[in-house]
């Protein structure tokens, strides 16, 4: 495995958390009253919000509307994720 920088390490944590949420989402679509599934979803939702806030503050927006919109348009200042080392 390649050595990851701090930005990539934080992105991995976001990807892991979002993957858990995506799995919970599909499972809950067909099991909408499962208590364990709902609890699992809530736990990862709180974690995602925390991690994304940290990412936005340190490295910029993950969605266009997360841009600050002050001095310059940050959405075009940061690379897109299909570039090697940027995802």
């Amino acid at each position: 495995m390649p050595v990851l920088n701090d930005k990539q390490k934080l992105m991995r944590r976001i990807q892991q958390c979002c993957f858990a949420l995506a799995e919970a989402n599909l499972y809950l679509d067909s099991h909408p009253t499962c208590k364990m599934g709902l609890e699992y979803f809530r736990k990862h939702k709180a974690e995602k919000e925390k991690l994304e806030k940290e990412y936005n503050e340190k490295y910029g927006p993950l969605t266009a509307v997360q841009s600050e919109g002050t001095k310059k348009w940050e959405w075009v200042a940061k690379p897109f994720p299909w570039e090697r080392g940027e995802n």
């Binding site: 991995r12 979002c18 995506a22 993950l62 969605t63 299909w82 995802n87």
Partner: protein
């Protein structure tokens, strides 16, 4: 509506370009069992789904398939960076290069462009969900075949992730099919279309 997030669902970081491998993997973008067809299949079928659980599943899996299309495109993009004309000619990538240079265009590995013939939207949820389960297995087989052809661990890792998602989606569509059939009259199982006929 949709919102774009500037991240891949699973990382794609490929050190070594390999245009011959790109020519094979492109089938999972624009081929008969690729991610573009998967996304369009589910996102078009969802309007005739008879209950909210199935409407949600088709919406959410159809959306995830868009993220998979982006991963496949990132693999193709990174496999075709910085190629010399010699590499393009010797790898057999020249037949794609002549029409698209190194741009991303949805075709099958055979070169046939993407077509809506690759999926159906039949307006009958039992028919559609059976197609969806078959589609997930066909995509899984294609990923198995790609894994037989690819040696590079940088490529195999994201392909293995995508292969696993086909298995999870198959499971979830199976649950949708059970939800729909459970609501039918057991004597009338295939006698009417639950999205069209009034029982």
């Amino acid at each position: 509506m949709w919102m774009y997030e500037k991240k891949l669902q699973y990382p794609v970081n490929i050190k070594d370009p390999n245009p011959a491998l790109a020519k094979v993997i492109i089938s999972q973008l624009g081929g008969p069992d690729g991610e573009l067809g998967a996304s369009l299949r589910y996102l078009n079928q969802r309007y005739s789904a008879p209950c909210r659980e199935v409407q949600a599943m088709l919406t959410d899996i159809g959306t995830e398939e868009l993220a998979h299309m982006e991963m496949i495109s990132a693999i193709l993009y990174q496999l075709t960076r910085g190629l010399s004309m010699k590499e393009i000619k010797e790898s057999g990538f020249d037949t794609y290069f002549v029409d698209h240079t190194t741009g991303i265009y949805p075709v099958a590995a055979s070169g046939v462009p993407f077509t809506a013939d690759y999926f159906q939207s039949k307006g009958d949820p039992i028919t559609d969900l059976n197609e969806d389960m078959a589609a997930e297995q066909k995509a899984r087989t294609t990923y198995d075949n790609i894994l037989r052809l690819a040696d590079d661990p940088d490529v195999r890792d994201p392909i293995k992730f995508l292969r696993e998602r086909e298995i999870v989606h198959y499971q979830r569509f199976g649950e949708c099919l059970r939800l729909v059939t459970d609501k039918l009259d057991s004597k009338n199982f295939y006698a009417f279309n639950p999205s069209f006929d009034k029982p």
